[in-house]
């Protein structure tokens, strides 16, 4: 193993004017890594080197845009090294992205981002050309938030491609992209996106501050950034929305939100967000307004069922059986009397089983995932009822609950945990317990706000305009008359609409 000098603080070291020294420095900084490519060449009588990282650059583009022009360059006998630099920076268009760097920090970072570095003997600077050519996934249909009538393209792992997907949808100079890097080791590219005419500067500044506060070593997915964007870490809910759909992302930017695109993940982030938005999809705007409103109402009911149904069933059957009609009560008694365990225990066990099977179905390959559903849903469920371990109504309740939870995938984490808490609360203290937990959850959601924009708007605080598009779905002819922005929902004394 070769021993190199300590270059742990290489970021601020200036590039050496001697090509040999500069190359030695680069090799030392990178510890002789095998993917460092150095091509030394003489251009117009001056020693030069083209440095790149293997597979991060496109060999074809490098050959066509860099090697051929450089090797055929003739500047005359009396040329100086500075003439090559001038040619590279002033008289040629070798690549669409071009920077001059003076320290190893920038040089190394850009090399790892797919740039090629040209060094000229006698010059204490390097010339970077963007000729990225690393392998990437092609633009594909999004894996989450599937729709029937909307666009089919989704974000991918490459930030630049994602930026272009957004730009294609919003061809306005008001759309701004601010690129920066986070992660002391990963140096992940992160891009703040906003519409300058729609988004308040206060909100953009706040997002900038929160991103600059990230001191992590590595940032590998949106989950690393999300906690820093959330205003409250103690909340059950999150005021940061994720999406891998460029159309949804662009639509939210037009509402005055700030988007964050992170290199290496197809999931982008949006702040701030409202609780109600978890029930909206892109398809809502492709369907007729009355149908979209109807579907949204179905989703609200599905959320309530997904969280409360098993808990309320346990509470009613255990503590408040007078609520049931006589016939229903009789059939429940008949089915429950054959089971050996208390109702709350049965429901907890069957809910746990469902969560286990669901988790297994997600992690397993798709072909095996189906088999898990069959084993769990049909075989275990049927056998449990037939053997008298659990009653049939519990299976019906669980089936309805599970199906309801699939309707709102964005709130999957919250519904899973809250459902279990509600079952226990219902089993311990009936509807009283469930209401206490609900009150705490309601207050928890109400406490969430980002830059004065409440998470529970437009319901509480109530905003009339929010009901047109967020709670219900008005037609485009009505929507075009009044553009609603997220800043309109800011709870404050200047907001005349807030009730």
């Amino acid at each position: 193993m070769p021993c190199f000098p300590d270059y742990s603080n290489y970021e601020n070291i200036k590039i050496a004017s001697s090509l040999e020294k500069a190359l030695l420095d680069l090799r030392s900084i990178m510890g002789g890594t095998m993917d460092l490519n150095i091509m030394e060449v003489v251009v117009s009588g001056h020693k030069c080197a083209v440095v790149s990282i293997e597979n991060m650059t496109s060999t074809d583009i490098m050959t066509e845009l860099l090697f051929q022009p450089l090797t055929s360059l003739q500047l005359g006998e009396n040329s100086k090294p500075q003439d090559i630099a001038d040619w590279l920076t002033k008289y040629s268009l070798l690549s669409s992205e071009r920077h001059t760097c003076y320290d190893y920090g920038e040089a190394v970072t850009q090399l790892f981002s797919g740039f090629a570095l040209v060094l000229v003997n006698g010059l204490a600077s390097g010339y970077l050309f963007g000729i990225q050519g690393f392998d990437k996934r092609s633009i594909d249909e999004p894996t989450s938030d599937l729709n029937v009538l909307g666009g089919r393209d989704g974000f991918i792992e490459v930030l630049r491609t994602n930026v272009s997907l957004v730009r294609r949808r919003l061809k306005t100079p008001c759309l701004r992209f601010e690129l920066s890097k986070i992660g002391t080791k990963s140096k992940t590219d992160i891009c703040i996106v906003y519409m300058a005419d729609r988004c308040s500067s206060e909100l953009v500044d706040s997002v900038r501050q929160r991103i600059s506060s990230i001191k992590l070593e590595t940032v590998l997915s949106s989950g690393y950034v999300m906690p820093y964007l959330m205003k409250s870490s103690k909340s059950i809910f999150t005021d940061v929305q994720t999406t891998d759909r460029p159309d949804a992302f662009a639509a939210k930017l037009c509402e005055g939100k700030v988007g964050i695109i992170i290199d290496g993940t197809p999931f982008t982030l949006l702040v701030p967000t409202f609780f109600i938005e978890n029930f909206n999809t892109v398809d809502d705007y492709a369907n007729r307004p009355y149908y979209a409103t109807y579907i949204r109402c179905i989703k609200y009911i599905a959320f309530i069922l997904a969280v409360l149904l098993p808990g309320v069933y346990v509470a009613l059957a255990t503590f408040h059986s007078e609520t049931f009609s006589y016939k229903l009560l009789l059939s429940l008694v008949v089915s429950e009397e054959s089971t050996p365990y208390p109702l709350v225990f049965d429901v907890v066990i069957i809910t746990l089983m469902y969560e286990i099977l669901r988790e297994a179905g997600i992690r397993l390959p798709k072909t095996v995932g189906g088999a898990v559903s069959i084993v769990g849903g049909l075989i275990i469920g049927d056998a449990a009822v037939n053997s008298g371990l659990i009653s049939a109504p519990i299976l019906i309740i669980l089936g309805l609950t599970a199906t309801s939870s699939f309707v709102i995938p964005n709130l999957n984490q919250q519904t899973s945990v809250l459902r279990m808490i509600m079952i226990i609360a219902g089993g311990v203290a009936g509807l009283y317990g469930i209401t206490l937990v609900s009150a705490a959850v309601l207050a928890n959601a109400c406490a969430l706000s980002d830059n004065g924009i409440p998470y529970t708007a437009p319901v509480s605080p109530f905003f009339k305009s929010g009901f047109k598009d967020i709670f219900f779905r008005a037609g485009f002819k009505r929507l075009e008359k009044t553009q609603t922005l997220v800043s309109d929902f800011k709870a404050g004394e200047n907001n005349t609409e807030e009730a």
């Binding site: 007078e322 009936g430 009283y432 469930i434 609900s438 009150a439 207050a443 928890n444 406490a447 605080p461």
Partner: protein, 359 residues
């Protein structure tokens, strides 16, 4: 000027209304009440409340951003501490009464709940958590609870729609004057939430005067309407049994739901927790006036603990209904809502302004 953690007039009305709804739900009528007496008595009560509220509103007109406790501190520290202790004690007592009333009536209405002490412990823990979140979450929750109340009231009414009969209204009065005075006095004593309003008004973003009088009007309409409905559906039973509003929901039924008691319980609990959270929050704010650096949790914790211990003690050894002396309660409301603000108005203006500026 921006007010931190401010609430809107609508939210204030919802907060106060939820507190009042809780009292109404646990209200047991006096022997001689009937619909007409209740409605007329309520009219007099609300007129009196409107007069009482003139003093805190006048005080707020001069000092829009300060409540009585804060103004007391501006005048002198001992006065501030004294007012802080008085208001904290009052709020703690309201918290105790809320918990005791709730446990008393839940065990009456739902015999399956026997562990009164456990009920108040759960409730206190939930309210403590909510109060530490701040005023805005409580106010937003109150707005949702108010909406829920409207939905549930409509549901209950749908279940009893066929039973409404104006012939059930008993409007004969044996002693009109005595009955109305007795009813209005009792009704006045049930308006302790106006003290909460006095403490909340400086946190209001919009016009305070309009909010207070809107609340008094809305409250009168809501309470009057429910009293009317209870009488029209239940007849004399509404005034001869405890918890008439509860009986209205237990009487209500549809082909799907046999009884609406459970809906009543949900609403009851929501209102109780919201009111309790507000009391604890405001008590914590009063404590913070004494020690501004204290964190919200540590300001509210002693109040919650004291209220909880007191509630458990009362539940075990005492009947809370015996503490409901209308004269004492009326006097307390007048002192805290009118007399103290009036006295603060009389204090030399220079003193308050100077100290207020330095504060």
């Amino acid at each position: 000027m921006k007010k931190p953690h401010a609430i809107s007039a609508y939210q204030l009305i919802c907060l106060l209304l939820v507190g009042r709804l809780f009292i109404m739900m646990t209200y047991s009528p006096a022997g001689g009440d009937n619909t007409l007496i209740t409605i007329l008595g309520g009219l007099i009560t609300n007129a009196a409340l409107a007069v009482v509220m003139i003093f805190p509103l006048l005080l707020l007109k001069k000092f829009p951003d300060k409540n009585a406790v804060q103004l007391g501190f501006c005048a002198s520290k001992p006065l501030g501490i004294m007012l802080s202790v008085i208001y904290t004690a009052f709020l703690a007592w309201i918290a105790v009464k809320t918990m005791c009333d709730f446990s008393q009536f839940i065990t009456f209405a739902f015999p399956i709940f026997t562990a009164k002490r456990v009920i108040v412990v759960f409730m206190a823990a939930t309210a403590l958590y909510i109060s530490t979140l701040g005023l805005e979450p409580i106010a937003r929750s109150a707005a949702v609870v108010t909406g829920l109340f409207v939905v549930m009231l409509i549901t209950v009414l749908l279940g009893t729609s066929g039973e409404i009969d104006v012939h059930n209204l008993n409007i004969s009065i044996e002693d009109p004057l005595g009955g109305i005075i007795k009813s209005s006095l009792g009704s006045f004593a049930r308006n302790s939430e106006l003290i909460l309003a006095c403490l909340l008004l400086p946190k209001l973003r919009s016009k305070q005067c309009g909010a207070v009088y809107s609340y008094i009007t809305i409250k009168y309409i809501v309470v009057g309407s429910i009293a009317f409905l209870c009488s029209a559906i239940l007849g004399d039973f509404a005034y001869s049994s405890p918890l008439p509003f509860f009986h209205l929901s237990s009487y209500s039924n549809t082909s799907i739901i046999a009884r609406f008691d459970s809906l009543f319980l949900i609403l009851w609990t929501f209102c109780a927790v919201t009111k309790l959270s507000l009391c604890i929050y405001l008590a914590g704010e009063c404590i913070k006036c004494i020690s501004p650096k204290i964190k919200p949790f540590y300001a509210t914790l002693p109040v919650t603990a004291a209220a909880l211990i007191c509630s458990v003690f009362i539940i075990m050894y005492y009947d809370i209904t015996k503490a409901e002396n209308v004269y004492i309660w009326s006097a307390v409301i007048i002192i805290l809502a009118a007399v103290i603000p009036a006295l603060l108005l009389i204090l030399p203006k220079e003193k308050r302004s100077r100290k207020g500026a330095s504060a």
